[in-house]
Symmetry: C2
Subunit: 337 residues, 2 copies
DNA sequence: AGGGGCTATATGACCGAGCACATCTTGCGG
DNA sequence: CCGCAAGATGTGCTCGGTCATATAGCCCCT
């Protein structure tokens, strides 16, 4: 009944209601110290009475800070990006920032550029790019001027901060585990070319093999999908002497397991399999999957920390934050017979 | 070298550069018809020369339209919400809208309210709420005035538009499939209480059973997680006469499969299992899972369509859009022996 | 009592666009 | 060659906040 007009109340309305100036209302809203307690109370009461909310758009216009962070990501449907973004969102909101998401389907440098430009136009205070392809990384090399940015799993070279999980170490963990179980060597089903994760995992796997003086078989190329793992698994089942397989991620490991099971190969008795990611399902695969654990949540949180630091300092100091991977042993690996 | 100041170019700069007024620049930017071609060209050239981008924040302030849509969702890590949001994002971006996401960990009406308020403050033009719990639905019953909203899987009663997949029909499909294979009855591992999907799936399952005049066993309560399915599967394996199980989602089905396998029960020979969702992994479960297919992508797209319609019309006409589920038969079901 | 140094509050400009309206062109019919 | 309507462009205000600065009130000290 106290709404003669449809229009939402603005600061001036609150000011009038409380018998002060709009500036005082602003002070109350921004927790300025120099406001007498009773004035503050009066203003606060007026605010709730009118149901006033401050207009963040107007605020952003003058402060030139939107308190919104952009996230550009490749296929947010995948477990990794989805979890990372979840971590980002939680951390950002706690810090009082909004998250604006652009999710890409194709991943050339051009579309990443476009996405960043798009977000820049909207006035985001910074961007985190979750697009761990080599080509996507290139888009970060000439950002809009003055735009703070952090990349997840980015290249080492670019002029941006990077937060990543140690892929090489993860792959080494997986490979060593299999080697220590007595396997002569380890086959690898890799992710798609151009992905930094793919490269890192191949590198770590190869390194572990070479350190142990073992032969390095040709990796089987996949694309992260269970289907690709399935195809690779069929090839592996048909080959001689395969006793241990390191799949580039858990979904491909699932496909491998399926193919081996269809081929009548028992896991882990005849072939041991390890994955990468530790998705929630992998504990219940048949058999439960031994895998490298990635803590996407902390990656997300670190991204926000790094980004906010960059925004607040205004300076261009590029950090590189490496999160160590974990390793969880379940039932898909066993000693070589 | 043409940057005497750090400040980004604004409309006035472009205007000066092109020798016109800021209003003409605005016209060019907004594709107004009444601009002479050569003027337009001159302005466009000035824009690229200066690298001008329009400030959407300022634009939003005066137009009172931010071209941003809010999404509040429960646990964006789950496949369903993640896929829905993906669809939403794609559709929104094509329509020229940004997406601002708030992802909730706990899901009471209060936190949904808070999230919506938070987004309202930011000035979103509308919200889609992906929080299919009964309690979350209640938060939609008194939205900020004039805020267009659409709920995914929302309650029927509330004064909001709803886009949903026909859960009852999906469950019925699953149950009938098992009945038609000759199973006497079908056990059900349900989702967590309070979820609308849980209720719908129980309802459809029960209806199919009753229509066929079959006994309706007590459902086993789960929580969508593979672990819950695993526990339920252990119980099921210990029971007599169980030949068919309808799991509330694919992850729980995975847990059931695992438990049965551990108990030495062969699927589908001894027990048939069907899931719900059709996550990308389920085709490669052991055995490949027969399941109800939900097209989250089209749900997301429909959300945006409905929401934009509501925004453009400004009117409060509430729609209810029901997407039919699919059904995909794989190898986890077979005729009763 | 007077003045210095605070604190508390008010005033007006400003951020960068769009909108309404005014003004100046242009084209065309009579 | 004039008049008039439509087309093209410019002017000034507005959106709803914050910032810089001015001003009023207060306490304390000499």
């Amino acid at each position: 009944m106290t709404t003669p007009k449809r229009r939402l109340p603005v600061m001036a309305d609150v000011a009038k209601e409380a018998g002060v100036s709009h500036q005082t209302v602003s002070r109350v809203l921004n927790d300025h110290p120099n406001v007498r307690p009773d004035t503050r109370a009066r203003v606060e009461e007026a605010i709730t009475r009118l149901g006033y909310r401050r207009n963040l758009v107007a605020r952003a216009l003058v402060t030139k800070r939107s308190r919104t962070l952009g996230v550009v990501s490749f296929d947010t449907t995948l477990y990794g990006p989805a979890s990372t973004i979840y971590g980002i969102e939680q951390a950002a909101r706690t810090a009082g920032y909004f998250i604006s998401i652009v999710s890409l389907k194709s991943i050339d440098a051009g579309s990443v550029r476009d996405a960043i430009d798009y977000l820049a136009e909207q006035g985001v205070d910074g961007v985190v790019v979750v697009a761990p392809q080599r080509s996507a990384g290139r888009a970060l090399e000439n950002l809009p001027p003055g735009m703070p940015a952090v990349a997840v799993e980015g290249t080492h070279s670019a002029d941006v901060s990077v937060v990543c999980i140690d892929q090489i170490e993860g792959a080494r963990l997986a490979t060593r585990h299999l080697l220590e179980l007595g396997h002569e060597t380890v086959w690898h089903v890799s992710g798609p070319a151009d992905w930094l994760e793919t490269e890192g995992r191949i590198e770590g796997w190869r390194a572990a093999l070479e350190e142990a003086g073992r032969p390095v078989p040709e990796p089987l190329a996949g694309d992260w999908s269970p289907r690709a793992g399935y195809e690779a698994g069929k090839s592996l089942a048909a080959m001689d002497g395969v006793t241990a397989v390191f799949a580039g991620n858990d979904q491909m490991a699932l496909g491998v397991l399926r193919a081996l099971s269809e081929a009548g190969v028992r896991v882990p008795d005849q072939i041991s399999v390890v994955g990468f990611d530790d998705i929630p399902e992998s504990e219940f695969f048949s058999p439960p999957l031994t895998t490298v654990r990635q803590d996407f949540d902390v990656v997300g949180r670190h991204c926000i920390e790094v980004l906010l630091r960059q925004i607040d300092l205004g300076s261009a100091t590029y950090e590189r934050l490496v999160v160590p991977p974990g390793f969880v042993v379940r039932s898909s690996t066993s000693p070589a017979r």
